[in-house]
């Protein structure tokens, strides 16, 4: 099994996922080597290394925008041949709104903050912005890498175009009609799902249908931010006081400063390990659910075909036609089912190992931070008590 499928790509260690097609000994390695954030869009530089004869060169780069990724994803979705495969979820739209707003508010100036406070908050917000940026790059990269790793999906023509065509794909963002249409389609689909689930005799076994309730992990950057004003007031208190008390206050200010950094890291680690994981698997599960839906849909078609066949046989009209149709549906269904089963089992393995890795890493990080905080606090206490 491709190792790439088992890993959720870490931001810090941009692990290259090498996809080796054992049958053809072909290399297709995709990564996002650079990204530039312009006013309201992000330009990704997609870099491909390949040994596939299909491509003109062995190594090449193109610049792509988010809409083009979405286009690629949609073409996969619409392709009947891939009905039995879990299509990797599309990367989320880069959203810097919140972060930008905060930076702007900070810039507009809050008279109540001292210069150091201001600098610290600015630093925090900038780090946040950077983190969001890194994350969106990673999301786009993972999407491509999963496609490249999948034995069937990697062979898609549109994929090659996406990777190689160095001009603008001129994929316009969906206009209102399309968006509305898409929305409508979605609604129909959900209704359809429910209908199928209730009417079809085939129970969509619980093994494959998971109701994922996705918890949002607690946002705790606020506690970290809360420490900033405290440490700054403490240090200003310290500068005023007579020297013994001064030392104490300064020590305290330092302590809170360091604690704040640790708390901030706790929050971002949690975000990284836990909430990103959950978010990604939520989308992935949605893709899996879509697969199941397609399967259920094809089953419904099959059943319908059966009914039509029966009716045709009774009336003895157009039997051949009905038989042909029914056969088609049957084949389709079986093919779907077979591939779906495989896909879903792969998905489970992938999911379990990703959860395991991230939970372990999360726990280890939490421990590391808690121990660091503990050390800080203890040291401060010792030096405070020594003052006696």
């Amino acid at each position: 099994m491709d190792e790439s499928q088992a890993l959720f790509v870490d931001e810090d260690s941009k692990s290259r996922s090498v996809s080796v097609d054992l049958y053809h000994d072909s290399l297709l390695q995709v990564e996002i080597s650079d990204a530039v954030s312009e006013r309201d869009k992000v330009k990704f530089t997609v870099h491909t290394k390949t040994s596939l004869p299909r491509f003109k060169r062995a190594e090449f780069s193109v610049v792509r925008q988010h809409e083009e990724f979405i286009w690629l994803h949609d073409t996969y979705l619409e392709n009947e041949d891939y009905a039995g495969i879990i299509i990797p979820p599309a990367p989320p739209k880069p959203d810097f709104e919140a972060s930008r707003e905060k930076l702007q508010k900070l810039g507009e100036g809050d008279g109540s903050m001292t210069r150091e406070e201001f600098a610290k908050m600015k630093q925090e917000l900038e780090a946040e912005y950077l983190a969001i940026f890194k994350k969106t790059v990673a999301m786009h990269e993972v999407f491509l890498q999963r496609l490249a790793a999948h034995p069937v999906l990697r062979r898609d023509h549109n994929f090659y175009v996406f990777l190689e065509y160095d001009q603008d794909l001129s994929v316009r963002g969906k206009n209102k009609k399309e968006i509305f249409g898409g929305f409508f389609k979605n609604m129909v689909k959900t209704a359809d799902e429910a209908l199928i689930a209730s009417t079809s005799g085939l129970k969509v076994t619980s093994r494959f249908s998971f109701l994922y309730v996705f918890p949002t992990s607690p946002p705790s950057p606020d506690v970290a931010e809360g420490y900033i004003p405290i440490s700054s007031v403490l240090s200003s208190l310290g500068t005023q006081e007579s020297s013994i008390v001064n030392r104490n206050f300064l020590k305290l200010a330092e302590l809170f400063e360091k604690l704040r950094k640790v708390e901030g890291r706790v929050a971002s680690d949690k975000d990284l390990k836990l909430s990103d994981l959950l978010r990604y698997y939520m989308r992935d599960s949605q893709a899996a659910k879509d697969l199941l839906y397609r399967r259920a849909r094809s089953l419904a078609d099959y059943e319908n075909a059966n009914k039509v066949l029966d009716k045709a046989r009774m009336k003895n009209k157009e039997v051949k036609q009905a038989e042909g149709h029914q056969q088609l549906c049957c084949h389709r269904f079986e093919k779907l089912s077979g591939s779906a089963k495989q896909e879903l089992m792969d998905f489970k393995v992938r999911r379990v190992s990703a959860f395991r890795k991230n939970l372990i890493e999360l726990t280890e990080l939490e421990l590391k931070h808690a121990k660091a905080s503990l050390l800080l606090l203890r040291n401060c206490l010792i030096s405070l008590k020594m003052e006696h």
């Binding site: 309730v213 918890p215 607690p218 809360g226 200003s236 013994i244 395991r356 421990l367 905080s373 006696h388």
Partner: protein, 519 residues
């Protein structure tokens, strides 16, 4: 600044040395000024201030900056103190209101035959008080606990009664351990009595906890929810701290009202403390009037120490307020964090339930449990943040108001003195006019008035001296207390943070093997 703490070398009469003795300087300046202004005791204005300075020694300057370092200096000074100073008595007597004891000031105003001999004991005197206080502070054997809040009565007339338990080995009390039941208005009544007796002569009286109409109404109505229990608990803790601060003050401790409050089982109900009563409204009007007055008094500050201290306290006040706001928002954030963590724990549990891979499912359920425990931790930490840190800060913000009030009282006293002087001047002018008018009976009356006003001027000056002296002492005490208080609370707070982290470590360490066990 180190020089400030060193006692000036004995016998060194250079004026420059005493630049640093702000306290010493003050006395001597006032000495000189009283010499000049009181014509009844014609003294050579050249009374060498230096001579008197020469007799001052260790304890004198040490009084100014009562940092912890100086405790050693005090200890060393013991041998030079006369233990049987007769003037000790008036200060520590049990009189309801310490009469403005004419200790030092009388020495100044009466014919200065032997300024040295009278002066010196007074200074030793003060240091002796300090030492007494030190001794009291070190072996301060009094423990007050406010506990068992219980609701008495029903409806809008209901109130909370708190049990006040005192454990002490001080001999001024009849027993070693006793407890009484008090209600909130009793505390307010005690504070108001102490304030009227002591504030205008310069003692910093610890302020009582604030009234809260909303909070109390909820309790009266009988709402048994977490916010009203929180309110009661907050109040109970505040009352305890109030009493502790009050009895730490040696003068207040010996006040019969305080002793009665702690000891006697029945206490006359203090009605004038109700917010909406006539007395309450009168108080508010008075406060407003005082605020206006404060702005109009322009005091001729002869002593830089006071100005400095006032500035310092002003800054401190601002900083503490800012800090208090920050800590309160920290408490809010932590509570939010805890709510979010709880929600997360629930969702993680549901996730664990719907997961069919057994090991992962188990791990997720464990994760949910860990998060739940962490949520508890956050809640407790928020409480610690609040009760330890934020309340301390708000106590001190209120205390600083009391301190500022005391400085204002000094200004008022000065104003009274100045007014008396102005009046005296007028009377003298009137008298000299009458001298030429040849009206013997009016003249006599004028002379009588002059004498009366001279007395008032003297009294005014004495009052001013006394209040200045008291304030210095009080401020010194306050500073020491503050340092001690803050340190103790901060240490406790940090220890609570340590606790939290240790617990966090425990929880995560328990979870780790579960995560690793996912096959």
């Amino acid at each position: 600044m180190a020089t400030e703490r060193e006692p000036p070398p004995l016998g060194d009469a250079e004026q420059t040395d005493f630049r640093e003795l702000e306290d010493g300087e003050d006395l001597f300046i006032s000495t000189a000024s009283t010499l000049e202004s009181s014509p009844t005791s014609p003294e050579p204005a050249s009374l060498p201030a230096e001579d008197i300075c020469a007799n001052s020694n260790g304890p004198q300057p040490a009084e100014i900056s009562l940092d912890d370092d100086l405790e050693d200096l005090f200890a060393e000074a013991t041998e030079e103190v006369s233990l049987d100073s007769p003037e000790r008595e008036p200060i520590l007597s049990d009189e309801p209101s310490p009469a403005i004891t004419p200790v030092t000031p009388t020495a100044l105003v009466t014919p200065r035959v032997e300024p040295k001999t009278i002066f010196v004991p007074a200074m030793f005197e003060r240091s002796k008080e300090e030492l007494e206080e030190e001794a009291n502070g070190d072996s301060f054997d009094m423990e007050i606990v406010v506990s068992d809040p219980e609701k008495v009565g029903d409806g809008m007339n209901a109130y909370m009664a708190y049990k006040v338990t005192t454990k002490t080995s001080l001999t001024i009390f009849n027993e070693n351990e006793f407890s009484v039941k008090r209600r909130f208005s009793d505390f307010l009544g005690l504070h108001s009595k102490l304030a009227t007796k002591y504030m205008h002569i310069g003692y910093i009286v610890p302020p009582a906890p604030e009234k809260s109409i909303v909070g109390m109404t909820k309790v009266k109505v009988g709402k048994e929810d977490s916010s009203s229990t929180e309110f009661v608990e907050k109040r109970r803790a505040a009352l305890e701290r109030y009493l502790e601060r009050t009895v730490k003050h040696p003068t207040l401790l010996h006040n019969p009202d305080v002793m009665q409050f702690l000891e006697s089982s029945e206490l006359p109900r203090a009605v004038s403390t109700q917010a909406l009563s006539g007395a309450g409204i009168l108080r508010m009007v008075n406060k407003a009037a005082e605020a206006v007055n404060k702005m109009t008094i322009k005091m001729n500050e002869s002593d830089a120490w006071f100005e400095e201290k006032q500035q310092q306290f002003e800054n401190l006040d601002q900083q503490l307020r800012k800090l208090h706001t920050s800590v309160e928002s920290l408490v809010c954030h932590r509570k939010e964090l805890s709510v979010n963590t709880a929600a997360f724990a629930k969702s993680a549990a549901m996730l664990g339930n719907s997961e069919d891979h057994t090991a992962l499912s188990r791990a997720l359920s464990q994760l949910a449990e860990v998060e739940e425990k962490i949520d508890q931790l956050h809640q407790e930490q928020a409480y610690a943040d609040f009760y330890l840190f934020a309340e301390l800060l708000s106590d001190y913000v209120r205390l600083l108001t009391a301190v500022k009030g005391v400085f204002d009282q000094r200004m008022k006293t000065w104003q009274k003195w100045q007014d008396a002087q102005a009046m005296l001047q007028k009377k003298r002018e009137a008298e000299s006019k009458l001298q030429f008018a040849n009206k013997p009976d009016k003249l006599q009356q004028a002379k009588d008035e002059i004498r009366e006003w001279e007395g008032k001027v003297q009294q005014g000056e004495r009052d001013f001296e006394q209040i200045s002296k008291t304030i210095r002492k009080e401020v010194g005490r306050f500073e020491k207390e503050r340092v001690r208080d803050f340190k103790a609370v901060i240490i406790k707070y940090l220890e609570s943070l340590v606790q939290t982290q240790q617990q966090l470590i425990k929880y995560w360490e328990a979870f780790l093997p579960e995560a690793k066990a996912i096959a």
